[in-house]
Symmetry: C2
Subunit: 576 residues, 2 copies
């Protein structure tokens, strides 16, 4: 269980502050997480690594020369919000762009993605690495769709070393993906952990058994087996990974034997003794093996084995020096001396973002856009109950409330931005950020990104024509699709947004004016949203949604269609 | 609990082998533990730190440049045996003597002490540091009698840095004691751990309470309190130590917030956040604070706070660079580069000790001494049951068996040594080592040391006169007193041995020959042993021994007297 806390809701935040207080030579706390407390070279790409808290040393413990530049820290086992990721990345970025790294989980994909959208809207080059090393979570063919576990250590270590060695963003991204593609992990768990403040463990593994492939947040494994000896567990893990040894292996492997929290060091060493034999028998040479706690899950009882099949380039970066609070390796002589980097004194804090100077034209457009945001809010308020009821059928019933909170936050942030003289681009970026923060959850992240992405099509310098308006809308839909990772037919907002975008583009390119094209596209969205009821009806016969969802349209698709109908109506009136 | 093992009895040994396999650039496994795998500078004192297993990173994880030279690794929560300590120290020693460091526990005092005796007998200078930082275990006035807990980290770090900076053995010993005297720790525990292979935890802390001052092996604490918040626990630990802030403090403190195993990193950081406030309020500046797992107790749930009140010298060594498997700090540029130290290829293995060349005279004396060892064995065998019965009254009844096993092992080792041409000194050293190993336990360690210490009075070059014989016997008694830490009246072997030694010395100095003096001294020992029954009778009225021990003499004092009577008789016969 978690023994020490003051309040469950403040736990992660207090932990970050305490961590920063204990490591001032390495990190400074900023909104949303930590960044290096020392200046980094101008134009060096910033490696921003993160995820939920509860996994220390991952990820904040790895911020320092040779590894991370910053770490957004979410709540326990929860992705950091887009605004946390954005804040940390903004603070870490120093002209060389941002390489974001996180374990491949839906929440992280969404929130890091949204932050990346916002940064890109501001002209920052951002690349994303999703670590996907857990062989228990998907097939070999779908390696990049697997979950990320202790392979976080090797992938981020290698990417950080490449950057320290001078890689630019393209090169750092390439090497990081290469490291991920060469990394395989396999784990077992013996008992669950308890979240701070919770009375009961997140899950239990039946006594005297082990959950093979069980995830670090308690995600289902592939089977339960009778508890084995240390030797049997070592063999199980090793043989699981051995099935994926690449044909072109060099015979040299990075090895990480990772304890999840309650399996202690001596136990891990007993297991490693056996692994050393198996590696030798298999003709594999362990390079700088690591045995300890690297990606924990609070006090979960379990462990995982990670192998990285090295070539010369990966080995060079794996063994390169690194100097962070929780991970220090190699000959630090090769790193720049600490005193060569001045201590940073200035950090970005959200809310204090400067509002770029805008032309009168763009400010005028911003005022019009703010009217639209207010319109969206009124539509959300009007339909709050209905959207809640739709969501309650298969979800947690908070979609209506989330849309109201999000759009209300966007209106307020937009007003503030207008008062500070914001142009069109800045207005939408601020409104989008506020929507995501105020709403929380999935729909908040998606709508926040949609507004931010729409802002990218605009500027703070000039007004915008109809083509820019269409581009803004298409950008918004594209962001939703990219972020949510949802495809048509997945019964989400995309089921309405994708045909909407196609119709809008086709009509506008066919010569229609914006209000007409939009009206037609909104109609398509409304019909598509209604059709999700049919999709649900079909799926209702499976176990996915249960019978009660029969004939109920998707709330996300419905709210999208409602808002686009209102927007079309508004533009029609305005163009008269 | 402990999840991963192959066999409980092999657990610690397998863990050491796995640890060495994972860290070949730092350590090599030798009999009894690990030593640095690289050559150390000639005449550099060797810091040999150890204790039971189950506390990793303590102690093996701290072997490397800037810290330990070797670590004997006992079984879980058990002192390494004298032969393990000896083997590791022999392998670590390189002409500069040995500084032994361990937490102040009876078993460690005994076994490290016995190993030190043996090394001294071989001409190696050995000093001993007992870490005693746990303020819950004794009063402030008796700081050096307290138990050692996480202060092991700071004391050994500082001593290792002093040695790295060029301190000789005198200087290293001085600084280590100074560090220990400046170090204070205070801990709480929330739940016990389970030894490998055991079904039940070593102890439980009642639910929703915390055991304040509870020891790292489950030793009783000072009180149980209702479970507190992180902030309350931080305050409790800080205020406990604050009572012992020295008057001459500089205001600068090393800080170690140590998790015992199941209290995880984020929890520790939440606690540290509060400590940082309290330190600041108290005008104390934390220097290189450490928050993590340093001295664990398997998966025990608990934590401790350690403060070291620094002066310039201690601070310099606390922050000096260190490069070990589990502890790497500071600017490693200041350490000699790894490639400046060749990898070691030759190690000492017990059983392969060379037998020094001896003169015919000394070999002849050795043969006579071996007859005496055989005599001791026959006396032990004759009285095995009686000694067992005496021991069963207040102990575990194995004293007779231990004496038989020990003396039998000594006879065999003595025979082997004679066959290899051993002189008198070597014969007794080998016999003493074998006695300790064969008997195990306290009496084995004491008798083993007694024989080894007796050997110190002799040589492999010359025969010995009566004065040398007396010196050998006095040496043996002195070793028993020093090692056992027992004083007259403590109801142990010392109650017979101390008056024996006084009488022997007085008679011999008064002009008696050795057999006469010894006969008189043996008589004194026998009466003193009998008188322990009276002591017991008095103590029996207290709760210490219980009524059933009324009138029973101490088994250790009794066996000592029996053996000395037999020895006196033997020498009398031989002198006729």
């Amino acid at each position: 269980m978690t023994y020490l806390l003051n309040s469950a809701s403040d736990f992660s935040h207090e932990a970050v502050l305490g961590f920063a207080a204990a490591n001032p030579q390495y990190v400074s706390a900023v909104h949303g997480g930590v960044v290096r407390s020392t200046e980094t070279p101008r134009d060096q790409p910033a490696l921003v690594i993160g995820g939920g808290s509860g996994h220390y040393p991952a990820f904040a413990g790895w911020v320092g020369p040779g590894m991370g530049h910053g770490a957004p820290c979410g709540n326990i086992f929860s992705s950091p919000s887009a605004s946390q990721v954005y804040s940390v990345a903004r603070n870490a970025e120093n002209g060389g762009g941002v390489l974001m790294g996180f374990g491949n989980y839906a929440g992280d994909v969404l929130h890091f993605g949204a932050a990346a959208e916002k940064l890109r809207a501001e002209g920052v080059d951002v690349r994303i690495i999703r670590v996907s090393d857990d062989i228990a979570s998907n097939s070999r063919e779908n390696h990049r769709d697997r979950r990320g576990i202790a392979g976080d250590l090797s992938v981020f270590k290698i990417a950080g070393a490449a950057i320290e060695a001078g890689a630019d963003l393209d090169e750092a991204e390439r090497i990081a993906w290469k490291a991920n593609d060469a990394t395989r992990s396999f784990g077992v768990a013996f008992d669950g952990c308890t979240l701070p403040g919770a009375q009961d463990p997140l899950f239990h593994v039946p006594e005297s058994t082990m959950g093979v492939g069980l995830g670090i947040h308690g995600e289902p494994g592939i089977r339960d087996l009778a508890m084995g000896t240390a030797r049997e567990v070592a063999d199980l893990l090793f043989e699981g990974i051995l099935e994926e040894v690449p044909e072109d292996r060099t015979g040299r492997v990075a090895v990480v034997l990772n304890g999840l929290g309650r399996v202690k060091y001596e136990e891990l060493f007993v297991v490693y003794g056996r692994l050393a034999e198996r590696l030798d028998d298999a003709g594999l040479t362990p390079i700088q093996p690591e045995v300890g706690e690297f990606v924990t899950s609070l006090d979960m009882a379990g462990l995982s084995l990670t192998l990285v099949f090295l070539d010369e380039e990966l080995e060079r970066h794996w063994t390169a020096p690194v100097d962070t609070p929780a991970y220090r390796r190699g000959d630090l002589r090769e790193l720049p001396a600490k005193n060569e980097h001045a201590t940073r004194t200035e950090f970005f804090t959200p809310g204090a973002e400067p509002v770029p100077t805008a032309t009168a034209e763009s400010r005028s457009l911003a005022a019009s856009l703010h009217e639209i945001v207010k319109l969206l809010e009124s539509v959300c308020a009007e339909h709050e109950d209905e959207l809640g009821r739709l969501d309650a059928v298969a979800g947690d019933g908070d979609h209506g409330q989330g849309m109201v909170l999000g759009s209300r936050g966007a209106v307020e942030a937009g007003r503030e931005a207008l008062n500070r003289g914001a142009g069109a681009r800045t207005l939408l970026v601020h409104a989008g950020t506020a929507w995501a923060e105020s709403a929380g959850g999935t729909s908040g992240a998606l709508w926040g990104s949609a507004l931010t992405a729409a802002g990218r099509a605009l500027s703070d310098d000039a007004s915008a024509d109809a083509a820019a308006g269409v581009e803004a809308l298409l950008n918004a839909v594209e962001a939703v699709q990219r972020l949510g990772g949802a495809k048509l037919g997945d019964k989400t907002m995309v089921d309405a947004a994708a045909p909407f975008a196609a119709e809008l583009q086709a009509r506008f390119e066919g010569g229609a004016d914006l209000p007409s094209a939009l009206t037609s596209a909104a109609g398509v969205a409304t019909r598509a949203a209604a059709e999700t009821a049919e999709l649900r009806a079909r799926l209702g016969r499976s176990r996915v949604l249960g019978d009660k969802s029969l004939g109920t349209p998707d709330p996300g698709a419905t709210s999208f269609a409602l808002l686009m109908e209102a927007l079309a109506e508004h533009l029609k009136k305005a163009s008269r």
